[in-house]
Symmetry: D2
């Protein structure tokens, strides 16, 4: 390998939760984070932070999403009097990696070339992908290992800071985040507790359905420096309204998806991608409850679903 | 048709929310239910109320569940230094109708025979299935129309009442529910507010993985009288740890899934099936926050996911 | 209904093979057609008459085609010495209706409105679709009921007649077919035996991969008159290098897919769509063996695969 | 590695057709094999040599087969007069590896451990699996590279030899095959031409639907010696009515699926598994035309379909 991988740095495993940990920053969730989150609730309004799923939504190249309705109806009629019928849906999809979704800790890896010239892929906590992979799901680090997230959330509205949606390839820096804190009156110190969730609004989400064909071509997002800054504050989740949290294309073409590697692999922090953050931004609230319970398909690499904010 | 369908009765539509409503008792959700629910929180402990999803779990006859991992890994390596790789999962399933899931209002219907001898299927709010059906999802009443549920929940522990899991075919009556209220100290009046959620523990859930092959053969559950009693209290959701909320087989073989028809079609109340309620019961808490955000696949007949309780 | 449906005419069922027949013109296949076909073989050259299947090929709106490889590899290593591994593929598709495929007799229907105002769909042999439909396949008239086809084939090269690919919407008439017979030296009488196969080259096939996105927008093809002419000669199969055999859009907008209805429903003749006929045309051979063994998925509405000619 | 792998032996690649060949013994197909096959035809009778595909058929552990019908119907009505409707089917399956199917040359491999301790999987012609694998199909050696097979076939009826179906684990030896030749009057020399197909009847096929749950538990089949004997005669395809052609469990537990490795990897001979051979055996014909045109899904590891014999 040429130079060290700046996204991982030295000694990036074992994790601070030990070599057998599968939950990463999910360990920071607990009754105390729940009780702390409660204090955020003012009006009781709930705002969904995800997009619905439909044929025609953006898909990363190679991925599939289809829904078919078996029969019309799927069952019945049963019961001479009730004449009961029912309907099913049938879905085929890279379910953990479409639309609004949270990545599992086993989703991203780093391939190393060994002295012998052969390669090995390492994922969170130094697990060898070859040890945890099966054709039918991950043996470890699947999204089923993630906890239910119910904790304080903070929105950093970078689109709001610039007053316009950011362009593809725009790198969000620590300084941009500090300017957001300033602008949003969150202060520079103690604005985030360990276990809290940080959501980054870039403006890319507003193009989700309207620019479905080009949505995955590129995006504004976090650069490695911003990810490093956030990691020091130990959030459980970093989310954004783009498709990778990372800025695309990568600032350094030799270091692709550095925020993925730095946040997931080194710090066990979950990424929530493809979020819908405009309604939340329009509410004017920077602090709220973030709630998300992953769909626990064993061995899946991520989870779709509907994260939501409570104001 | 022989006799009137007791599960629906007369004039079961339009709904109380008007002929165009697609949300049913979801309309009872709102800031006030959220704020009321907050008062339930004591310890901040979170308890998942659903099972994970895996090949080998119980499936209703004819349904499919598969997870395949495309490639190993699915993408990469990208970046000469980061050598970034990633993994996807691919799921094929009657996704809205497997394991722990909530039924959409369009899931269940009643087929009527017209004077001419032909049939028509009606669903919630008197919609003709033929008007809302497409091969690629429901035009109306899909689970994407449901709200985020965050509200007070009440557990009625019928298994606890009898001290043993109920047998397949055991009908839970209003009297059983009243005995649970008594035993759990919930009182007979005002124990449920409109918009609250009622969860019924039968003991069938404990057999979910251990008796996967026979799990759908039958189940203890609510009879029509119990559903009628609950409906008068206007819950948003009625859930249970069996596969249909209804007792199976039906008490009256001519009236199949009467609770489905009565609760969903007449009252727009959502059913949450295949729930995991043992941990909640063991907590000793009868009142709690129930939270569930459906996976919003447009036109789907239901949603899997992880409902959870906050204690 | 306004006027009689010219594609079906009066008394279009029962079929000539009786009211219970499910094989239609497949009944014309037998040892004698096989032996007759043998006489066509000269060089022994085999020419595939279908396209391969890949992501990116044309798909009718709403249909899906995906192939995913579970794992890498899917199984093994097994055996301390042999270290045997194996690979699987996983396909999701409207398998009977993509790319080059043969329609089952249950694929197409005609919806009638009854005096009471309700509708019923009739398919081959007057079967009510509601009697044979299930959410998991057709009870009758699935492609598994079709025979193995091995019989004399005749290519009518309409593109060759005009010296250029036909345009979308170009209707092929009986006169065009007779001109092909003349040009190809096949004579006007006795050029087709009952049970033979007729393949029509329009030129649309050459645009299959190169114009995948627009391939289903329209096509040259047979008009009803041409289908009626061919039907009198009792072929087992009529195939073409377009997507419906029929000309698209329909000549008479009130009569959509008339060749489908006339050939499949009235005469039980199988349609082979999306064929690759250029190599065959370039061989200069108008008569050959046509061989096709449908993929016998029970209850499927059609079959993909590789029909082939033996010269 | 402990000892050399007897299934592959030394210098098993490059193939006799050169290091870039992807067709293996398919190269032995050509006009001459077609013309030679013609001479086998006597009565013109066609016998399918495959089973239909249905939910409930045997599946190798981990594999899925489902068919769902989108809508009822899937499309239409279109045309005010024709009121045309149509039906699709939707299939999800390890399509190339279920029921009766032919393996692609890229299906089976041999994992080697390198001095450095790392592993590499080699497939036909010494290709590294890592070079040809993608998550969406094989770059090389997919079943789409196989030719149309139309050639002389020979049935060796080992079940007939013993007068009873063979038991699971029964190894068929060269001597058994010679006894079949004797019994069937095929002679010991020159009974097979290069490019011909050999089909082995074990009796396991008769249990395909009746013993679906246990069908993959084990099977009678060829041992390595029998495969070596057949390979010297250069068939294009070796087929059998069991699920692996190989005897299961393996005679030598350290050498699993040796016929797979020897025939496919060393000799490029295609395996046709799960065949239905009883009707052919009952016809009394040992020589016939074997015809099979693989379903050419690009990059697929095998093909389902309906091979057939012409008598």
């Amino acid at each position: 390998m040429t130079r060290p991988n700046p996204a991982l740095g030295e000694g990036w495993f074992p994790s601070r939760w030990g070599p057998n940990d599968e939950q990463g920053a999910g360990n920071l969730q607990g009754p105390e984070t729940v009780l702390r989150a409660q204090a955020m609730i003012r009006t009781g309004e709930i705002i969904p932070l995800g997009f619905p799923y439909r044929v025609g939504m953006p898909l990363s190249p190679g991925r599939t999403f289809g829904i078919k309705m078996p029969g019309g109806p799927s069952g019945g009629p049963e019961g001479a009097v009730s004449q009961t019928v029912w309907n099913d849906d049938f879905v085929v999809a890279e379910l953990g990696q479409i639309g609004t979704h949270m990545d599992a800790l086993g989703h991203v890896g780093h391939q190393i070339r060994l002295p012998c010239g052969h390669c090995e892929t390492l994922v969170y906590n130094g697990n060898k992908l070859s040890d945890i992979w099966t054709p039918y799901g991950l043996r470890k680090l699947g999204i089923d290992k993630a906890p239910v997230f119910y904790t304080r959330g903070v929105l950093l509205d970078v689109e709001g800071l610039f007053g316009t949606p950011l362009e593809n390839g725009f790198e969000i820096t620590p300084d941009h985040l500090r300017q957001c804190l300033e602008r949003q009156g969150l202060g520079q110190e103690g604005w985030l507790n360990p276990g809290d969730v940080v959501l980054i609004r870039t403006g890319h989400g507003a193009r989700f359905f309207s620019h479905a064909d080009s949505w995955y071509d590129g995006a504004p997002g976090l650069g490695l420096a911003a990810a490093e800054y956030l990691a020091t504050l130990q959030p459980s989740v970093v989310g954004a309204d783009n498709f990778a949290v990372d800025v695309i294309p990568a600032v350094d073409p030799e270091v692709v998806l550095p925020c993925h590697q730095h946040l997931i692999m080194r710090h066990g922090i979950y990424l929530h991608e493809g979020m819908k953050l405009d309604d939340l931004a329009q509410s004017g609230r920077s602090e709220f409850v973030y709630a998300f319970a992953p769909l626990r398909i064993e061995g899946a690499t991520g989870s779709p679903g509907t994260p939501f904010a409570i104001l």
